[in-house]
Each structure stands twice: as structure tokens, then as C-alpha cells.
């Protein structure tokens, strides 16, 4: 039997912890809780959780400082869950290594979906998956080939790089900065408009209906995300 994933919930609100525990246990996760940064650090070493849900507003330390520390200490997937809504903060958390970011109040289903993606990414990264299937689009990184419905699609080198960067962690937000560092590694100053042009041409080549993009989604002010699974009629991932 597959062992259950262990989740460390770091939040100073006992009510939130209780609600999260109830929801996650129902989804078959094992739970450990911490009410502050000190407890969290201890549990991280002792319990070796698979996923950390980290609230940024902790009583003893700014959660943002914890992100790089936790990522250094373990390979754990880290999802930031915070009531702070500032875009700067989201980008900072992601750039510091957080795997995802959710704003309170959030939808529990959304949280579970993000957790599934995060865990899968972790496995992919560990196993080095070279072929990614995105609906009818197949990206074969070993052969540097992209096909849509079996037909080969020609991508320019930059387009290909963008796609690969997104596909390394499907379902996860990749910040503009992260992508541009990979696509234009020799430039110090980045202009996001170039990235936008590449995304537009990529969508035109890969999306079934470029007017209603399903494959590459836009995270306002933060970056892009490659959608993995099938989507419902509203464009939401199921």
C-alpha cells in the first residue's frame, strides 16, 4: 500500500489548523501541526513531512524568511497560504523557492488540487520525466520534439525554451523572472514584453482555441502556469 503523504500545517490560528486538518485527513493525508516558526522547524527535522502549508503571519518570525530556510533544509514541497494579498510578496515567496502560493480565504478544493500538483512535480523532478503530456500536446524533451494531435509543431528555439521551462513543473506558477533567467541567461535587464510575445506565439501554435487559452494560464503580475489536466467548461482545472 502506498504510504500516506505527511503534511505540516504551520499557522498560528488553531481554528484554521483544525479546519485544514479535517479537510486534509478526509483526503487521506497525515497531519502534523505547528503554531509558530520554532515548532515548525523542530517538526520539519523530526517528522520529515512531504508538504508544508506555511502561513506567512507567524507570531515569532516573518514567514517569508522561513521559505528559503525550509527549502534548504529539506526537499519538502512548500505551499504558502497567506492572507497577505500583495503581488510583491507572492513573487518574492515563489522566487525564494516556494512551490505555490494561495491567498486566504481559499477554496479547499483548490488547495487539494495544488497539493496534488506539487507532489506530482516532486516525483517528476526526482524521476526526471522527459516526456510531458498536456492534453493532445506531447513534449518530448529527449528528442526535442513537440507534437499536437500527432502532428509535429515547429517551435523557435526561444519558444521551445519557454515551453520546457513551464513543463519542468507542470501546474506550478513559474515567475516571469525565473523564466526570463532561463530564456535570456546573458541579459541583466529583462523586459517582460518579449516573454509575452513568446507566450502569444506558443499559444497560437499549441492551443486549440488561442482566443480561449487552456494550456498556458496567466498569473497576473506573477508569471505563467502550465495547466495539466482536463478543464471544465469554465476553464477551471478539475
Amino acid at each position: 500500500m502506498k504510504s500516506r503523504h505527511k503534511v505540516l500545517i504551520v499557522d498560528d490560528e488553531p481554528q484554521i489548523r483544525r479546519l485544514l486538518r479535517a479537510a486534509l485527513e478526509r483526503a487521506d493525508y497525515a497531519i502534523v501541526e505547528a503554531g509558530n516558526a520554532r515548532e515548525a522547524a523542530a517538526l520539519l527535522r523530526g517528522e520529515r513531512p512531504d508538504i508544508i502549508l506555511l502561513d506567512l503571519g507567524l507570531p515569532d518570525r516573518d514567514g517569508l524568511e522561513l521559505v528559503p530556510i525550509f527549502k534548504q533544509q529539506s526537499q519538502t514541497t512548500l505551499i504558502v497560504v497567506s492572507a497577505r494579498d500583495a503581488t510583491d510578496e507572492k513573487v518574492a515567496a515563489l522566487d525564494l523557492g516556494a512551490d505555490d502560493y494561495l491567498t486566504k480565504p481559499f477554496d479547499t478544493d483548490e488547495l487539494l488540487a495544488r497539493m496534488r500538483v506539487a507532489v506530482r512535480n516532486r516525483l517528476t523532478r526526482d524521476g526526471g520525466n522527459l516526456v510531458v503530456t498536456l492534453g493532445d500536446v506531447i513534449l518530448d524533451m529527449a528528442a526535442r520534439r513537440v507534437t499536437k494531435s500527432g502532428k509535429e509543431i515547429h517551435l523557435t528555439p526561444k519558444e521551445y525554451k519557454v515551453l520546457v521551462e513551464l513543463a519542468r513543473f507542470p501546474g506550478r506558477v513559474i515567475t516571469h523572472k525565473q523564466m526570463m533567467n532561463e530564456v535570456w541567461p546573458h541579459e541583466h535587464e529583462h523586459h517582460v514584453e518579449y516573454l509575452r510575445v513568446l507566450i502569444r506565439t506558443l499559444r497560437q501554435k499549441l492551443e486549440t482555441d488561442p482566443q480561449h487559452p487552456q494550456l498556458i494560464s496567466n498569473e497576473l503580475g506573477i508569471g505563467y502556469r502550465l495547466r495539466l489536466g482536463p478543464v471544465d467548461s469554465h476553464g477551471e482545472e478539475i
Binding site: T87, P105, Y194, N218, L220, G221
Partner: protein, 895 residues
Amino acid sequence: MTYSDRPSPEAFLRLAAQEGRGRLKIFLGAAPGVGKTWEMLMDGHHRREAGVDVVVGIVETHGRRDTEAIVNGHDIIKRRVSDHQGVRYSEMDVDAILQRHPALVLVDELAHSNAPGSRHPKRYQDVEELLDAGIDVYSTLNIQHVESLNDVVASITHIRVRETVPDSVLENAELEVVDLPPDELIERLRDGKVYIPQEASRALAHFFSKSNLTALRELALRRAAQAVDAQMLEHVRSHALAGNFAVGERIIVAVSELPAAVEFVRAAKRLADALKAPWTAVHIETRRSLNLSDMDRQQLSDTLALASRLGASTATVPAATVIDGLRLFAQDARATQIVMGKSRRPWWFTMLHGSIVDQVVRANGDVAVHVVPSDSPKQADHNRSSLLVGSWGKRSHYIWSFVMVAAMAILGRLLIELIDLHNISLLFLIPVMAAAASFGLRAGLFAGFMSSLAYNFVFLPPTGSLTVNNPENIISIFVLLGVAIVTSQFAARAREQANLAQKSARQNAALASFSRQLTAAPDQDGLMQAICFEVGRLLDVRAVFLLPSADGPTLRAAVPPDDVLEPIERAAAQWAIDNGLPAGRGSSTLTSSEWLFHPLATTGCVIGVLGISRNDALDPIRSDQLPLLMSLLDQAAIALDRMRLEEAALHARHVEERDRLRAALLSSVSHDLRTPLTMILSAAQAIRRGPFDGVAGAQAFAGTIEAEALRLNRFVSNLLDMVRVEAGALPMRAEATELFDAAASAAHDCRASLTGHEILIDIPSALPFVRLDPILLHHCLINLLDNAGRYADAGTPIIIRANRTADGIILSVIDQGPGIAIGDEKRVFEAFTRIDGNDRAKHGTGLGLAIVKGFAEAMGLSVEAGNHDDPHGAQFSIHIPSALIVGELMNEKLL
């Protein structure tokens, strides 16, 4: 005065129209309680004593005994009492007055609205009828009732007065301003001497603030001055007279460099207070003024500054003589009273020429002249000596004069065969006049003296010696000398006048440009910077501007901008603020400071200090620049004071607006937060109590909780957004944004709430990127879509459209529905505005469009609401200026 001597035809025409009409005199006040009615009654009383048939048409005594007493001394026309819908009104009986036909009727409160059913709706129309019948009318009016000033007054006091009197009524009336300083009026108010109707007492208490009263008073004075000037001009034109036409009193005080002039100024101030008259301190700048010592100049500018602090306007007028200057200025200023000091000329001079006072009295026949004794004779010697020393001029002038005389002697020698000996002497007038005109009186006299010597030496027999044989020739020499003296005096005087005129023209031009620069300043800081810049430019100095504050003077503007002040300079600035006198280098206080600080004072208080210094370690200001500096400071003080008043009024408006928002917010919060909370609470309680009819019941309650919580969340984020807009604390992360992307993602996020409406995106793919904050733009679009969804007819599509225009890009959200009522296009963007008042039914928070506007403006965009036809509906447009459009991209970077 330079009016032409013929009456102008237009003026006659206007006059003809008024022929046979009664004359209107209006007692104009800045506020209730200044004593207009009293003034009118007193004036009427005097006329009555002079034998004029005066009656009281209508006067409100408000139960004041003294007023009642004087009213009862007049014939009173009984009021007409009428009944309208059960209310008794008593109004002025126009018919009774017309029948009685007095010469003069007193009518209180010109702006009064008559009772319903009266002949005219307004009292001023009654008055017009009386005037048409040839009856003179005295009436009273407060400045806030003047129509053209209604807006201005409302902006000052925040109280709009509905009863107004058209300006045309004032234009043909004689105005008398009944003036009372604000402090005294407030005092009277406190003592209960001002009648205030009960229902308005609260509003009026706000109205009677000192700043309001000061501003209103200024308005009243200005309005009256404007009318008086216009009428004077008219009168002078139609009669082509050059006499004095003072309405009310105008006082001028002549000041000189003598310390005693301070006394003249004080005397004039007392007189002005007693007569409630505007006054002007004037210095007549003659040739003598050029030779004043630095000390004298300082004294003179101190005296003028004192006058300005005491409320006078000040002027420096160049003229050939003091008498001429005073006469012209008194005519121009239409003065009724002149205050001056006693002449300090020696007795023999007075014997020969008459004293200045006598001459002034003679020159200004219809003006009262007050002579103030001056008791500082000690100063005279000092002044005289400095006068003599100062005027000898340069040595080169005398050398040149000598050369010209010598040249003329040589020329005469050559012409001796052609010209008669006696006429040769006339040739010498040429160098005399040239020397006098170019180098001044003394050089001219020198040339005259040299000429007579040369004439004697070279031409009169025996030539080659200074002896004269023929007694006739001795007379020739004296005539030459005499003519030389007189002509050089005239020539020199002409020169001085030209110099003075040129100098004053330069100064006037400088002042005019200065005041233009000051009016262009957008705010206080801009104004202070402009003052520094202009003073620096005009006087060629470095300038700083400081404002007084609790922690000492604070530097607010500097030219050049990097100037810093040492502690000693701060101390000097503080001293200037505390004492209202200049301090620092070149003054008499704290002279070790490198800077010279001059206070800017308005009546009563120092509102700032201007510091000046020079790079070359000289005194910051030359003595001859001092009058200019004083004029600049006066103008700067007035401009700054006015700006402060304006900013205070603006601030008050902002506070009011904030209060309105706060009130609206409270009412909105109580509704929009409590409704979902109530529903969540009752659903949660229902779940806790149970039992349900099956799982569906529980699901329904849970659904309610979820929906209401989401609504609450939406409202809270809107509130947060609005607070950020209000606080001006929007985090901006502008980046290249694709409008299609933005529209698509907004449409995506709104899909759930916009059931029944299809969202069509009509944005050409060729549209360039724009540099905007994507999140703020997203919020704008979401709110616009949300708004469209609430107002659009069910089942109709909502269009997001973007077009390139000549000056940018227009991004619009278009719906099909009732649209926006004409006139509401701007109001829809105000917070908590719910058009039609039934918006609650539409579940709006009243914040959405205000957020759109706030966010858009934070990004440098503008928003506009309007309607479009076919199909009819509302159209909200965001205008993105060209500056925000991202330029061409480099293709090679994309490969």
C-alpha cells in the same frame, strides 16, 4: 492724470439713460453685523438734517434700542401686511412710497426675497421701480449676496446663499463699504450684538471664523474699489475734469527718509482708522533721492515697511519735485486727505519759495492736508552734508566738460571773422548744455564758469588776459554765466527725470514680471520656489525661503537648490520672524550671518522670511535695490497669504469630502456587512439545531453560508481597495501588459458572477503592449464587467473592446441596457453613488466604479462613462495615453 479734455460720447449716452432716475447708494458689508443698517440710518439722518425729505421704506431693527431710536426719528412708511396660505407677511409698501414720493427712501436688505404674491419676487426689483420714479434709495447689502461673487463666497464659507442681487444693480449704484476688522466683528458677535436668526445660528457660527471674515472683507473692499474706479473713470470722462472724486475717504501719507516719517505714518494710520479709509504711504523720488546715504535708504524702506504692516499700500513715485509728485499721485489715487511732515527747509528758503506744505496745499486745493510736526532737527545737518558729498560726481566729467569748452573756444577762434564777437558767446551754451545733460548740474555749472573764463580770455579784448576793458563786455560775461547756469539747471533736471523714468520703468517691468511668475505658481511650495528664483534673478543673489514653525524656521525653497544654513543664519531668520524686522548681514542685527533675512509680513503677523546672500562676500543688497526688494517682498507676502487662504479653503473642502465618504462608508458597511453576516449566522444556527429534511437541507444551508461568505469577501476586498485608493497607497508594478490577455483573464474571473451574459472580446491582436499594473487593470475590468452585469438587460452580451486612437488606446466595456442618465456621467464614479437609488436591489457595494476611477488614475489613465446607441446601453471607457504604449520590440531577441 492723462485723460483727454473732451468728454467721451459714450459716457454721455450712459449718463443720459440715467437722467431723471433716482440714485441708488448701497452700504456694502463683508458680513452681517458690521453695522450697515446703522451706517445707512446715520447717513439718512444727516441728509434729513440737511433738509432732504427722507423716509424709511423698511428697516429691520432686530430689537436693538439704539437702532430703533434712530429709525423712529424718521418718517416711516407703514408696511403692507399680507396673508398667504395662513402665514402673515409684512413687506415694504412700494405703492405707499410712490404715492408719498419722498426724495430719499431707506430700504434695508436689498437681497431680500419678497413674500409670495408680492408685486416683485425680489426687493431689488422694488427698488428699481422706486429709482425709476425718480426717488433716491439708500440700501444695504452683504457681499455674499452679490451674484458674481456667489460662487467665490460659497467656496470660502461653504455656505451657499440663495438670495442674490445681479451685478448690474451694483454697477449703477454708489457703493460705500461698511468695514469692521474681523476681530472686532467676532467680538461683537460674542457680545450678542449681531442679530442671527435662531435656525441659522449653527451655520453662521462657522461662517464667522476669522479666516472667512478676512476673505469676505477683502472681497467687499475689492468689489467696491472696482465699482468706484469704474464710476470715477466714467465721471471723469463725461465731465473731462481733473479734480478729485473721492467716494469715502482715501488717505495718502508722504514719507521721506527722515526718522520722523514714522510718526507721519502712525498719524496717517490713526486717521485712516478713524475714517475707516484705505490709505497709501508714498515716497516721492526726486533727484535728491539719488544722493541719499545707505542709512537714509534703510530708514526709508523701514518706514514704508511699517506702513505696509499697518495696513497701508505703499508706492514710490518718481517725480521732478515733491510737490509735483504728491499732486499727481493724490489725483491718481483720488486722495481726500494728505498727511505730511513739516518742512525742514531753512527759513530763507521758505521765505523765497514758500514751504512745501504751502505749495502742496495750493496745488491740491480740494484735498485736506494734515501737517504733523517733526521734532528731529538734529538729523538735518547730517543729511545736508551727505547731500553735498554725494553729488560732485566723477572727475572725468569735469575733464570732459573742460575739453568741450576748449574745443568751442578753438572753433570760435576759427569763426571770429564770420561772426560778431557778442554772438560768439552763444556758442559756449553748447558745451554747457551738453555737460549739464550728460554729467549733471554741477558739471554744467562748471562748464558755464569755464566758458565765461574762456570767452573773456580768448575773445574779449585785451585777449590773452582775464582783464576786460569795455564795461559792456563785463555784462556779456555775466549774461553768459547767467544763461549757462539756468540752461544747465534745466538740462540737468531733464536728465534726472529721464533717469528716474527709466529706472522706474525698469522696476515696474521687474515687478510686473514678478507678479506674473507668482500667479503662475501652482501651490505654496511652487510659489516659494518662484519667489526665490525671481528675487535671485532680479537682484542677482542667492535666495532661500523659510517658514516659521514650532522647531524654528524651516527651509522650504532655495535657489540654487543646494543651499544650507548655519545655526547663526537660522538664529537670524528666527529673529526676523520674531521681530518682523530684517536681520543678518547688512542689517543692524546678527550681522555675522552671511545671509540677510527679510520678513514677509501681512497685517499683524510674519508669514515667512526671505534670505538672500551673494557669492562675492559683499552685502547681499545694494542700497539702491532696497525699494525694489521691499516691493517684491510686499507682493510675495500678499501672494503667499492669498495662497495660504486658498489652500486652507481647499483643505476644508477635502475634509468635508472625507467626512461625506466616511458617513457613506458607515451606512454602506452596516448594510453590506450585516446582510451576509445575518444570513451566515442564521444558516449556521439552523445547521447546529438540525434536524434537516435530508442531506439536501443541510446542503442548502451550507450553500447559503458559502455564497454569503464569498459576497462578504468581495465586499471586504473592495473596501480594502478603496482604502488604498483613498490613502494614495497603491502599490504600482507597471509592466508590459497585453490588453487581450487582461480582458480574457477578467472575463474568465467574472464568468461565475455574470450568468446570462456572454462576454465578447473585440481586441485586435496587432494592438501594442501597454505599460500598466496588470493587477490594477484586472480589478478595473472586473469591476466594470460586474457593473455591466448588474445593469445590462438579461441575456444580452457584454463587449470588451479596444481601439487605437490618435492619442493612445481606448479600452471600453459596453453593455446593452438602460444606460446612464444624462448628467450622471461623472457622478457614477463617486464612491457610494447608487444611481436611481434602487441600486441596493442590484447588490452593488457602491464602490466598484470609484475603485475603477481610483485605480485607473493611479496608473495615469482616465475614465469616462457614457452611452452608446444601437443597441442602447452604457459604455465605460478607459483611456490609455500614448506615453504608456510599449514601443517596437527587437525581433532578434525572440529567435
